[in-house]
């Protein structure tokens, strides 16, 4: 059966509290999920009081400040700090989002930060995305064509053809969508999840690709595709404002259309 309770070794115990030094002007409280596999202990939620007047306005700025000034063992991924690398995806106040593009002004005095839900945790806010990436690779996210490219240039698309893939191709693989999907929580071993399906769709509708049929064949499966029950958390949380739910609906539509 589906697990509705965390496994015994994942249940959260009370963590430590780091008080802010006196004289802080703009105080915020961060409750952050901590897990260190080498300690052998269960995860905890640590409390950090921080003067956010001393750092930038985004949640990532606060995390970097905590790591610099309070607890250097706090572990998280980050790179571009401008919403294009997808590294700092995490669950902030119950919503999967990028720490670098989430302004603290839009959040309350107390901010809860957890790793992306229902993924194995490597350490603190770092989830293990191996399977997620493998699922992406399994949809063959590259151009497949028998027709050789023109000898004097690249494969061309019309403007309208490019516009079709323009948005779906903007996915940064941050995993916010897939890890927000209950269907993916219960069946991620077999269900591809919104991110991989959006990528599959991006290649299915690419006018230059010639493997549309094989791609649709590979998706026609009760689990790989049809575990999507149109819950639409994916579209709700996408930090790039993409629409994986619509992409999945379009794939389902194409599968029906090619039968009659």
């Amino acid at each position: 059966m589906a697990d509705f309770r965390l496994p015994a070794n994942s249940r959260i115990r009370k963590g430590v509290t780091h008080k802010a030094p006196s004289g802080a002007r703009e105080l915020r409280t961060f409750r952050i999920y901590r897990f260190d596999p080498s300690s052998g202990e269960n995860p905890s939620v640590d409390t950090f009081e921080l003067d956010v007047g001393e750092c930038g306005p985004m949640v990532l700025d606060a995390l970097i400040r905590i790591k610099d000034a309070v607890d250097s063992s706090l572990t998280f991924r980050r790179s571009c700090r401008e919403g294009i690398c997808g590294s700092c995806a995490m669950n902030i106040d119950g919503v999967n989002r990028l720490a670098c593009t989430t302004s603290m002004h839009d959040l309350g005095k107390e901010i809860r930060i957890y790793p992306l839900p229902h993924m194995p945790v490597v350490k603190d806010l770092v989830p293990d995305l191996t399977h997620f990436y493998a699922q992406y690779a399994s949809v063959k996210p590259w151009l497949v064509a028998q027709t050789p490219p023109p000898p004097d240039g690249e494969r061309l698309q019309s403007k309208a053809e490019q516009e079709k893939i323009d948005r779906p191709a903007a996915c940064i693989l941050c995993a916010c969508c897939s890890t927000a999907c209950p269907s993916y929580w219960w069946n991620s071993d077999r269900y591809l999840g919104p991110a991989a399906l959006l990528a599959a769709y991006r290649w299915i509708i690419d006018s230059r690709d010639e493997a549309t049929g094989e791609r649709l064949d590979a998706l026609e499966d009760p689990f790989k595709l049809y575990r999507c029950h149109t819950i639409m958390n994916c579209t709700d949380v996408c930090p790039k404002d993409l629409n994986p739910a619509k992409a999945i609906a379009e794939i389902k539509k194409m599968l029906v259309e090619r039968q009659s």
């Binding site: 589906a2 493998a134 064949d217 499966d221 689990f223 029906v256």
Partner: protein, 128 residues
Amino acid sequence: MTLRSPLGRAIGAGSAKEGVHHWWTQRLSAVALVFLSIWFVVSLLSLPAHDYPTVSAWMRQGWTAVLLIVFVLTAAWHSQLGVRVVVEDYVHDSGMKFLSLALVTFFHVAVAVAGVFAILKVALGGAV
């Protein structure tokens, strides 16, 4: 513990090349049920009385019995498709899953046949 590659695990047993039919039938039966349910409720409400003679007389009209049978079969079919998805979603143990799916199918067939039988019994049973 497995040493299988991540890609091997993601691909798994590959595609079952099935699922369109299930998905499409579920949608189609849902649309049919919208109309059938409205017809059923409106027809019942517009009966002059709701005692046994009135309702059974209504059921003995040819079209009523036909539509009632369609209604029962469509509802059972739609329900079977839906419950199957719920079982697949939540029951992960392979043996348990196949057992549940078999029971779900048996149950819906029994309900559908019992419903049709009941309608026919009233519709063809003659005056009470």
